[in-house]
């Protein structure tokens, strides 16, 4: 006897409307719990042509620059005021003297360069000399038309400097070769190869925060001090033009 299978539409899963309702509910739940991620992404693409243009961006950046400049000037004023209270060196922006190198002695006993500006141009002994990259030395002698610069690599050179990242001060000592040494008078300090070295803000010889060099290697055996070798940023062997920074106390 053949039994025919009963086909009926009374089963709930055959109800199309019910399926639509379930899918709709699922979507609602997804949207709720996805925190409208899809909406926002879709909105991103649709709204892209109407975003604030380059002009508005420039306006914003310009006003941001102005704000930073105002803050910088305020900080400079504070810095100058505090430095004058402490009787430390400062650089006068109006007295930067451009000069060219007329004699160079960078590899022998005497590590000096001679510049074509002297006392008639207002150069004085002790002025800092910077080249492309950073500090190269200090004026140690002047004549009417020329001035002589004692390079940081000279065995007679000693200047105060600091590692800005860890705020540690030390002394840069020239040893006659192209890599002067920096001595820190403590043993356990957190310095690394590659740290930048600047002139010390506490120095009475130099204007503050002039870039000098980077730490090339650390001498692990030096005791009780820590000694590092420095790679200077400015290379006096290849510099033809320098700037003399007039400083006053």
């Amino acid at each position: 006897m053949n039994k025919t299978r009963r086909i009926t539409t009374s089963r709930w899963w055959n109800n199309k409307n019910l399926w639509f309702l379930l899918i709709f509910l699922f979507l609602i739940v997804f949207v709720r719990f996805s925190k409208s991620l899809i909406y926002r992404d879709i909105y991103y693409f649709f709204s892209k042509p109407f975003w604030p243009g380059q002009f508005q961006k420039e306006l914003l950046l310009d006003s941001y620059d102005k704000e930073l400049n105002v803050k910088l000037k305020q900080l400079e004023k504070d810095n100058l005021r505090l430095r004058s209270l402490l009787n430390l060196k400062k650089t006068r922006d109006d007295l930067i003297i451009d000069s060219s190198v007329i004699s160079r002695n960078t590899g022998s006993w005497w590590r000096k360069i001679i510049l074509n500006k002297g006392s008639r141009n207002g150069v004085t002994i002790g002025d800092a000399v910077v080249g492309p990259g950073g500090l190269i030395g200090l004026i140690d002698d002047i004549s009417i038309f020329t001035s002589s610069v004692k390079l940081l690599t000279s065995s007679e050179s000693q200047v105060g400097a600091w590692v800005q990242r860890v705020n540690i001060h030390g002394l840069i000592v020239g040893v006659g070769n192209d890599s002067p040494k920096m001595i820190f008078y403590s043993k356990d300090i957190d310095i690394k190869v590659g740290d930048l070295i600047f002139s010390s803000p506490a120095s009475t010889l130099l204007p503050p925060n002039i870039p000098i060099g980077i730490i090339e290697s650390i001498d692990q055996d030096s005791r009780p001090t820590t000694t590092v070798n420095i790679q200077l940023l400015a290379n006096p062997q290849a510099i033809d033009w320098v700037q003399i920074l007039k400083s006053k106390i």
Partner: protein, 169 residues
Amino acid sequence: MNFSLIKNNFSLLSFLLIPLLSLWNPIWFSVMGVQPYWPIFWLLPWSNLNGPINGLIIGFIIGIILDSINNDIYTQVPGLLICGFWFGKLGTLKYRYQYGLLASFGSLICGLIYFLQLILNNYQKNPDWLFSFGLKNIFGQILLTGLFAPVLSISLYKFFSSNLKKNRF
């Protein structure tokens, strides 16, 4: 054009070149940044011709001039005094290579005396740091001075001797 003034005063004019060369430091004469020791090229033939006392005096004068140029606390006078006296004692040299050897020895004497002053002044700092720098300078100077002396010093010797003969007669 009359060159007699230059020819008659060649020793003096070439003497004036010593401080200028020390200031100029022509880079094409250098090895690892080290230059030859310029005063030796002039002092060697001049002292050979003019004797030890004159050599001593001119060594002192050159030393004073070079010290004033370099303006540091060390002096080059003792080395140049010794060299001037010694070169004067030796008299005329026969062979070309002798100029090279003597110039090298002179450069060694001057370099060692200068280096000794440097070490004595820095013994509290850390003299070990200065050794590689000092040895490089001394050997660089010996090499270059010895290399150029057979050419430069012999040429100067010929000029000085012809000058001396002319001035005598």
